[in-house]
């Protein structure tokens, strides 16, 4: 059988934030929102589920969560029902895997759900559990679980090497919080001023509270199928998965692959592979959701994704080139800084936003968007994952 072309039919989200809900509750909310988005689809026709969640094993005491979620949302998978864990890129990993299965004819209609319940009844456990996010025995034991220290050093390096300023870092937060203003599903719907970001409570200088994504509960879901089935089930313009890449080069405590911490070799490799596979160049991308876990991250991503030259990410963001009306609008739904970051949910939230953009129904619409990109960095910058979507296959 020839490879089939794979489309995302629709997407949904639970409300994201500090939620009075369990992971199983939020997975149901996201799945409902997603099924409501594709009303013609019958649930019994969904033959597979991938559930992207890193922390359900630890913070919800629930391993092998996929069959639990399948039962709760009322589907009976016959192709695949499994959990995916790539921390911050789990959702994107799920979409890549579902694409591969459908493309190969091993599944027909799959729902990919992802998300986390990160808040525990006592807050110390919420933060303490982050020590499991990275190489436990080497980095976790050094207290490098939560990533601000690592990205603080990355920001310092970028400032020294390229003259990036704290104003430029802050501009990322201002833009993304503004983009999230009208997104009711995100964690925050409140704009912040440049002064507020600059003066926010220091976490790991130069990064302050408003340079960091919050800790967030939530789930998101998308449904994928092959082109023929997509035409049957939806009147909307089709959105194809055109090209993907996931690159891991190290585990961080030693063995960083770049020349210095601002040199994201693995991101450039992932970008090159994804652009090649999607048969596009950075200039072809109309809208992007990139992994703004910290303000410095988005600046370096602009460079290593090829939207601007190395070292020019600061001025690129500050001059509005990554804003609506600029060269490439980035994080149009608010990104991680406004929506929050329930790890396994983020790649799916990004995919949902790109699908809405390419179908012309986003809350903050980029006019005429035809090609979109999503990007995640995961762990302590150990892995980069990219998906490129298009109105054409």
């Amino acid at each position: 059988m020839a490879d089939r072309k794979v489309c995302i039919l629709g997407g949904g989200m639970s409300k994201w934030g500090v939620r009075e809900a369990s992971i199983v509750d939020m997975a149901q909310e996201a799945a409902k929102d997603c099924f409501d988005d594709v009303p013609v689809l019958k649930k019994e026709d969904v033959d597979g589920l991938l559930f992207a969640s890193s922390y359900c094993g630890r913070r919800s005491f629930q391993v092998n969560a996929a069959p639990v979620i399948a039962e709760r949302i009322g589907i009976k998978p016959t192709s695949m029902c499994t959990r995916v864990d790539t921390l911050c890129a789990g959702g994107s990993s799920g979409i890549i895997l579902a694409t591969g299965l459908i493309k190969a004819g091993m599944a027909d209609i799959m729902i990919v759900i992802g998300g986390e319940k990160l808040y525990t009844p006592q807050r110390w456990e919420t933060y303490y559990s982050e020590l499991a996010s990275i190489d436990h025995d080497w980095d976790g034991a050094q207290g490098i679980g939560l990533p601000p220290p690592f990205f603080s050093m990355t920001a310092q390096e970028h400032m020294k090497r390229y003259g990036t300023t704290k104003e430029q870092l802050s501009a990322v937060s201002v833009k993304n919080r503004r983009n999230g203003l009208n997104n009711p599903k995100g964690h925050f719907q409140k704009a912040v001023s440049l002064e507020e970001v600059m003066a926010s409570r220091p976490i790991a200088p130069p990064l302050g509270l408003l340079d960091c994504t919050p800790v967030t509960d939530g789930c998101a879901a998308v449904i994928l199928t092959h082109e023929d089935k997509a035409k049957e089930l939806s009147d909307r313009p089709l959105v194809y998965v055109r090209g993907t890449a996931q690159v891991a080069l190290h585990s961080m405590s030693m063995n960083w692959p770049g020349e210095d911490l601002t040199d994201w070799v693995h991101l450039r490799t992932a970008a090159k592979k994804a652009y090649e596979r999607a048969r596009v160049s950075p200039d072809d991308i109309d809208v992007a959701q990139t992994h703004d876990c910290f303000t410095i991250s988005e600046i370096i991503e602009m460079e290593d994704l090829g939207f601007c030259k190395k070292g020019e990410g600061g001025p690129f963001v500050e001059s509005g080139k990554s804003d609506f009306g600029g060269k490439i609008p980035v994080n149009t739904d608010g990104g991680l800084l406004a929506c929050g970051h329930p790890f396994g949910g983020t790649g799916i939230r990004q995919a949902r936003e790109i699908v809405y953009q390419l179908q012309g129904r986003a809350i903050g619409q980029v006019e005429g968007a035809k090609i979109g990109l999503t990007h995640n960095l995961s762990g302590l910058n150990v892995e980069h994952t990219i998906l490129i979507y298009g109105r054409e296959p």
Partner: protein
């Protein structure tokens, strides 16, 4: 009826909540790293077949797949390339400021490590730091019903005075 359950774990050792490695030999084939650390030696494995010296230590050479490895010493002093002082959001088990540095150990090795015995504002880029070994809470291993405490050490770096 009596409801058992474990609302709060009193007097039990939940290893899945332990931020430090399970260093005891029953749980870890690289336990010599920790035994060497106790002697203030910072060590890793060297492949006897192809000569590669990866860190962290392995049980199989990642280059040539040989499992014929030996323990060798790494430098215990290095220079601070960049550092960061985390002042808020420090995880349980650590105190603010939690200082981390990217340390150049020479021989092309860079290590991200915690810096201890150092006050906020004291560290400088280019400063020399050395290996610091300290006791951490013991882990508990059940041996034929008896609970045995296994003392442990761990490492960070500290400024050379």
């Amino acid at each position: 009826m009596t409801v058992l359950g474990v609302p709060i774990l009193e007097g039990l050792y939940p290893s899945t909540m332990d931020l430090y490695p399970l260093e005891a030999k029953e749980f870890n084939r690289i336990h010599p790293f920790y035994e060497n650390l106790r002697q203030k030696r910072f060590t890793t494995t060297k492949c006897k077949k192809c000569g590669s010296v990866p860190f962290p230590p392995r049980v199989v050479c990642p280059k040539c797949n040989s499992d014929d490895l030996e323990w060798v010493d790494l430098p215990t002093q290095g220079k601070v390339l960049r550092f960061t002082e985390e002042v808020a959001g420090v995880p349980h088990g650590f105190e603010a400021p939690l200082i981390h540095a990217l340390i150049d150990l020479g021989e092309g090795r860079k290590l991200l490590s915690r810096v201890v015995n150092c006050k906020e504002g004291q560290l400088k880029e280019g400063a020399t730091v050395k290996l610091a070994v300290f006791d951490i809470p013991a882990m508990v291993v059940e041996n034929r019903g008896a609970m045995e405490e296994r003392p442990r050490v761990f490492f960070a770096f500290e400024p050379v005075k």
